[in-house]
């Protein structure tokens, strides 16, 4: 009997010894996550993987078509509408609900997209706000959402070794179309490092106003002023409203 126990213990020890390095060599990808998972699930799983993610407000720059207004959820309701782009600091993991109004050619209609930050950047100290994650709300996708479509847009950080040899100009972020049988998160993972997920379409708030569930608990945001680029000076100074901030 002791001999059998000793052999079993050795086998278990060897399995643990060989299995632990294999688990440690898991590639940092999201292939085991599906892009169609409910909002907040991927970010929560990302937090469980460790790293300096919890509590970090990742600057996110939300772009909208000219004329469209963006409202961020704060204190259980939507805040004042602002002209885009709007740069805010968002936590990694929670889901942020946004209201887009005054959409060109769709006046009087509203879209309520969500933004889920699932990873962060590691910019040199002092340049975090100069290199935010760029979340782009295109007019085409807003119209798709208004027509009853559900749009999932996975924003990823391009791998410089596999970057497209084209300029990123005024037309905005370069993007690919994922087919209906493909996972956009898996494709983004192959092209780079997914950092955020934008979802448009689907759910609308109740008639009496947005509930706290609709706002996903209204997670905190930090308003940051977008720094001026030395080669692309901005015409307007940082607005006072952005400096007043939503510090929590």
């Amino acid at each position: 009997m002791p001999r059998v126990v000793g052999k079993t213990a050795m086998v278990v020890l060897l399995c643990l010894g060989l299995g632990t390095p294999a688990a440690a060599q898991q590639p940092p990808v999201h292939y085991w996550h599906q892009g169609a998972m409910p909002p907040g699930a991927i970010g929560s799983l990302q937090l469980q993987r460790g790293g300096p993610l919890p509590g970090y407000f990742q600057p996110v720059k939300i772009k909208a078509p000219d004329g469209a207004l963006i409202s961020l959820a704060e204190a259980g309701t939507f805040g004042p509408a602002q002209q885009g782009p709007v740069t805010v600091g968002m936590l990694i993991g929670p889901v942020y609900r946004i209201r887009v109004t005054n959409i060109p050619s769709e006046y009087g209609r509203e879209v309520f997209p969500t933004v889920e930050v699932i990873n962060r950047l590691y910019a040199p100290p002092g340049t975090e706000t100069r290199f935010p994650i760029e979340v782009e709300l295109t007019l085409e996708e807003l119209q798709l959402a208004l027509s009853g479509k559900f749009v999932t847009r996975v924003i990823y950080l391009e791998d410089p070794q596999r970057a497209l040899p084209i300029r990123q100009g005024a037309q905005g972020t370069n993007w690919f179309e994922a087919g209906p049988n493909h996972d956009p998160l898996a494709i983004a993972d192959q092209l780079g490092r997914p950092v955020a997920i934008l979802r448009l379409g689907g759910r609308l708030p109740d008639a009496e106003g947005p509930s706290i569930d609709f706002l996903y608990g209204c997670p905190p945001v930090v308003a940051v002023a977008a720094p001026q680029s030395p080669q692309e000076p901005s015409a307007a100074e940082p607005t006072q409203a952005s400096r007043s901030g939503l510090w929590r």
């Binding site: 479509k149 749009v151 391009e158 040899p165 490092r193 002023a225």
Partner: protein
Amino acid sequence: MNPRPASDSTHSPWPRWWRFVVVAIGTLILCSCRAGHPVAGPYGHGPAPSPALPQQAYTGDAAAYLAEADCPGDDAAIPLPSAHVAPWTPPGARAQPWPPDEYLFDGGDQAPATRIAADWEVHGLNAEDTVGHFDTLDGRTVVVPSNRVSIYSPRFGAVRQVVSLRENEQWDPWVGIHQPLQPAGHADVQIAASSKQQYQPEGHVGRSLASIYQTKQGDGAVSNAYRLESTRRRILPGEAPAVLGQNTLEAAETAWLADGVEAALAWSRPEGLQIILDRTRATVETSDQKVETIFTVKEPEARPRLRVIKTASTPYAAPGETVDFTIRFDNVGNQPIGNVTILDNLTTRLEYVPDSAQCTVAADFFTEPNQAESLVLRWEVTEPLEPGQGGVVQFQCRVR
């Protein structure tokens, strides 16, 4: 038949020490996966800029640059409430700066190394490589890589998926429930899993303390060993131990002490060998003389060298911005070098600005497409470079 040794009585095919070896190997594997790796330093651990470069030149040391230069936008930037003071680097990360997917790299010579064939064809010049090559007086062609420049420039892409939502309403009324099976009975007999039994003590075991203490007295002589605190060895018996070790001078040791002092005086005589020549004290004394003196002149070993230093005008750039690159090349060897050529294979996200290339020495400039959908820049210096001579190449690139 010889009886088996005692160690083989278990009839196991593996010896007992083999089990311990397996257990030790498994333990080492488990511990190796949880041991802390040496934490790589922040960005400041990169190669320091060459002292020959101007102070504003950036060679990849972001921390040094940020410490000295004003960061554009610092005035308008609001510090994040949980921003890290220093850039976070995962344990064991060797790549600097980290993470590499947020940086553009240009310069150096990545594997496979660049080679120049006899027909001047270049092999192994990868994207991001910057090298210089030259011919030596003895007919060799030497390839010299530059340093590697890193520019923080993250760029984003997106993958979009559009799904159509269809509303579907369907009524499925219940038509009936038929459940013929009913429980006929239930019997559950449970056997007690534990029992309690009282045990009475069979006896009482106590411990008595000693009531008598017995001591033993010696003969009254107490011997002590003395040792000086600041010496490494003990005092020998012939070295007057009482006066040296205990600071007690006894009459019987006076003769020993006088003998020792005399011996010390014999070893501390100040006189030594002195030579006086013509009433002048000599400083060097030679014991032999040679009939001839041979003078030899050694020529320095031929060391053809070319130093290539590459710098960027900024450590970070957003897509669409322009970065000025400077390549300085110098003949730091001790003999002339010829056919000096500077090659820069631009990476995918760097786009050469036309007509922006300049060179301070006479050189022919060429461009040709590369495999990264960018360009290979080539400067061929027309005149040989004497030792100490060099030049500067400057050009602009737009970040894609």
